[in-house]
Amino acid sequence: MSGTEGTTPPEGGGKVENPRTGGDYAPSVARRLALAQRAGGLLVPLVTTIVAFLIGGLVVLATTGKNPLTTYQAIFEGAGLNWFIEIGSHELRIPFTDAHIPFPWNVNDLESLAAYNLQQTLISFVPLVLTGLAVAFAFRCGMFNIGGQGQYLAGAIMGVWVGSELPGLPGLVHILLAVVAGVVAGALVAGIAGILKATVGTHEVISTIMLNWIMVWTGVFLFGLGGPLQNDTQPFVPVSNDVLDESKLGILWGDPGLQALHVGFYVALAGLVVYWLTLNRTTLGYEVRAVGFNPEAAHYGGISVARNYFLAMAISGAFAGLAGAIDIVGWQYRINTNDVMISSQIAFVGIAVALLGRNKAIGVGLAALLFAALTTGTSTRNLDPEIFRPELAANLTLLIQGLVVLFVGADVLVLYLLNVRKRGRQRAATRPQE
């Protein structure tokens, strides 16, 4: 049976001990790519990012005629990353140590501005990590959760509601209550999509997109003029009440009068650890991964596929809900109808974060940092109009995001198609047509 599965070439990298298992066929390009992806781990996302930046640079050159390197330097500084550089030297500061490593350009005396920019980068890092984890967790169970926006909104709505009511509660209890309410809300919203998939097989892409719109319009209704959660003092402004002072998160770094980095930063880091532990060190994670890799084998092994679809979706939504609640009690403190429609779209960037981060905890962390820096670095107020037209700057973020998703998505697509073909062939092998 030299043509069947017995001869499928090994995919385990170059460590083939038994030459016979090498099989009869040469590994195809796509297969080699899959191999590089598994083996290298870091290689593919790194190449993807670099290519995206190169093409982004070409676009800058074509549209502005300016040196793309200057633009990237401006973005770098706009993101506050120059804070790490020793002022006046060509060296990079390693936080918490006295160590320095060489760096290509030196910085002007902008320490306070750099620090402020870096705080902004880290503030957007928090929801990007959490929404990235939300998408990644669902991916690991073989599902595509596009409903991050709706789940994030559910978290934000509960966060602002609980946070602005119930005066007199002790601060820590109040914060916990607001955050937990947000997490539960996110989990419930995503859980609807999970239940629908588990019971009647509704595709999660469709249901989560529809849930997004349900949550957006719920938010607009709640905080809009005359809405039940509109603020009590300004009847003509469609905004919520502010969260109470005692339910605001503590400040880690920066001027509390401006937007400063809040404790949510640690929550995001803890989220990465929890994600890794859940997937790799719990029976739940084992089941989720088994279902994600091969639902049929999981089912045959006695695992309830339906239950795991629901649980994975709910946990995914919990991460997104946490992002929404943390943003509210961390630095936004209120939400208006405009935020409901626009700011919540940060959750879509979470998809790019998860894709680029390859659904791994460490990858999601790094990808979130990259996108946070890009968003902050290109946001108009941080860029010198002399260097780069501000409208184009913001678009450059979107452009690079788009390119990253395109490249990452393209190789995932190739792998997907390859898998479909392989499965089709296997099915043909199991039961040839009557």
Binding site: M1, S2, G3, T4, E5, G6, T7, T8, P9, P10, E11, G12, G13, G14, V16, E17, N18, P19, R20, T21, G22, G23, D24, Y25, A26, P27, R38, N280, R281, T282, T283, L284, G285, Y286, E287, R289, A290, F293, N294, E296, A297, A298, H299, Y300, G301, G302, S304, R423, R425, Q426, R427, A428, A429, T430, R431, P432, Q433, E434
Partner: protein, 507 residues
């Protein structure tokens, strides 16, 4: 028989990263002969044939067709040189007619635009009578039997002017009767001057149909010998490189109490069509019950129902003393069922999991593998290490991806997991499909060993050889019904007749 070679391969070497798939292989095919290419999985048979069919370019070596050097850079070039190939998995378009499939890519047309049906049909009829391969040109491919589909594939190659036909594992999908018909066709083709390369790993077929046999092992040509006088034992030794036990050594069964009982079971498939109809049988501890049948006669649904993967419409299933009718898969497993699924890559293994994780598929959720929902990966790895050693799994350790192993080693992993659970009843569905001789020997010995341990074993296989050499009792399934019970000494002919619906209730 003409002694002039129509195809000569000289010193063909083909390397892939890390392996030499073909190492300086010589091969020649004479006009009008059937030359069998024999070898285990991964021996290099397919690579060699892909070189002949222009799918691979050899790194070294020369191909001569009718004495002239030929450059076969693509399948098109191969076809132009008179080489045709019938793949194991048919390359037919199921919704088109036989004639349309055969003339595909060289369709006769009206003024270059519209397909000329009449001419196409006439040409197909001509060539089918000329070579004695009866087909109905107007039949839709998906409605005809597998054996007929194979004829269509052969006609397709002949229509394109093939003088050299490569048949890749042609009998894998056929019943014994259909295989005999194929051999008749092969003989009539060679009488008309066609030359045939017959790829197989079934020793009895090779000795029956071939004129000469070339054995490949690990990419090297071991020997070319005339089929007359070749013994199966001798060929197996050449293939594997050591003495192989073809017949399974086993003592008479000592059936004990009933461990699996199926009564009046009726099961529908996903489309709501009855696939298993009122099936009743028992499996006792210490015996192997074989279910023989042509693929698609309800075997899959029967196994799925017993394993809790599919609801039944009527009937009762008891494992040990527990009624598990329509219980979940988990409950069936807990009742004492072990299950080697027929498709190990789709069902038996999570290919992206490590071997340790795969081996834990049934016991990850209780101590020692986990406690209160916390998994202990180290314990999984320790346990995997022992099991991998006991079952002689090669090609990786506990943390190797399952997908990186060869088919035989993957199957050993599944076997290890199922036997380790100490089941009362073990369902082995196609347990040696796609495995090479060495691995088959291991699986067979182990199944007999488990029988002797007192387990009840239900063997479902499409390979009659396997059923005959392992079973203590043989049931034949046809169109969802058990149509006969046979003793282990039954002949292939008897079984073959029952498998195709003739001679009901033979025993």
């Amino acid at each position: 028989m003409d002694e002039r070679p129509v195809l000569e391969l000289r010193g063909i070497t083909k390397r892939f990263p890390g392996i030499v798939a073909n190492d300086s292989v010589d091969f020649d095919l004479r006009k009008g002969e059937v030359h069998a290419l024999l070898g285990e999985n991964g021996a290099g048979k397919s690579t060699l044939m892909n070189v002949v069919y222009g799918l691979y370019r050899p790194d070294e070596g020369e191909i001569r067709i009718n004495g002239k050097p030929a450059e076969l850079g693509s399948p098109r070039a191969a076809i132009e040189n008179g080489v045709g190939m019938v793949h194991q998995h048919f390359m037919l378009i199921p919704v088109m007619t036989v004639a349309e499939n055969i003339v595909l890519a060289t369709e006769p047309t009206h003024k270059g635009v519209l397909l000329d049906y009449a001419t196409a049909e006439r040409r197909v009829r001509d060539i089918s009578t000329r070579f004695g391969l009866a087909v109905d040109p107007r039949a839709i491919v998906q409605d005809i039997t597998v054996g007929q589909q194979q004829r269509v594939e052969i006609l397709k190659a002949l229509y394109r002017g093939a003088d050299i036909l490569v048949l890749d594992e042609p009998t894998a999908v056929l019943t014994p009767q259909e295989a005999q018909e194929l051999f008749t066709i092969i003989r009539s083709l060679t009488e008309q001057g066609k030359s045939i390369i017959f790829i197989s790993h079934k020793l009895n077929e090779v000795t029956e149909v071939a004129d000469r046999i070339t054995v490949l092992r690990r990419g090297k040509k071991i020997e070319t010998l005339p089929a007359a006088g070749a013994t199966e034992e001798g060929l197996a030794r050449l293939m594997v490189g050591r003495e192989v036990l073809l017949r399974v050594d086993k003592t008479a069964a000592q059936p004990a109490r009933v461990l699996l009982s199926v009564k009046g079971l009726t099961v529908e498939d996903d489309r709501g069509i009855e696939q298993v109809r009122d099936v009743s049988f028992e499996v006792k501890g210490g015996e192997i019950v074989g279910i023989a049948g042509v693929d698609g006669n309800g075997q899959t649904e029967l196994i799925d129902a017993i394993a809790g993967l599919r609801r039944s419409q009527a009937g009762k299933i008891v494992i040990g003393d527990e009624d598990v009718t329509d219980d979940s898969c988990k409950e069936c497993l807990d009742a004492g069922l072990g299950h080697i699924p027929e498709d190990r890559q789709r069902r038996g293994l999570v290919l992206d999991f490590s071997l340790a994780e795969n081996l834990a598929l049934h016991d990850y959720d209780h101590p020692p593998a986990s406690r209160h929902g916390w998994l202990y990966p180290k314990r999984l790895i320790e346990k995997a290490r022992t099991l991998l050693q006991e079952f002689d799994v090669r090609g990786g350790g506990p943390q190797t991806r399952a997908g990186g192993l060869s088919g035989g080693n993957q199957q050993k992993v599944v076997l290890a997991r199922e036997i380790d659970r100490n089941p009362k009843v073990l369902i082995a569905a196609q347990p040696t499909r796609g495995l090479d001789v060495g691995a088959i020997e291991f699986v067979h010995r182990r199944l007999v060993g488990e029988r002797d341990e007192g387990r009840g074993i239900l063997l479902v296989s499409l390979e009659l050889d396997e059923i005959l050499s392992l079973s203590d009792r043989i049931l034949v399934i046809f169109e969802g019904r058990i149509v006969g019970e046979f003793p282990p000494g039954a002949s292939e002919e008897e079984l073959g007749v029952a498998m195709t619906g003739g001679g009901r209730k033979a025993a």
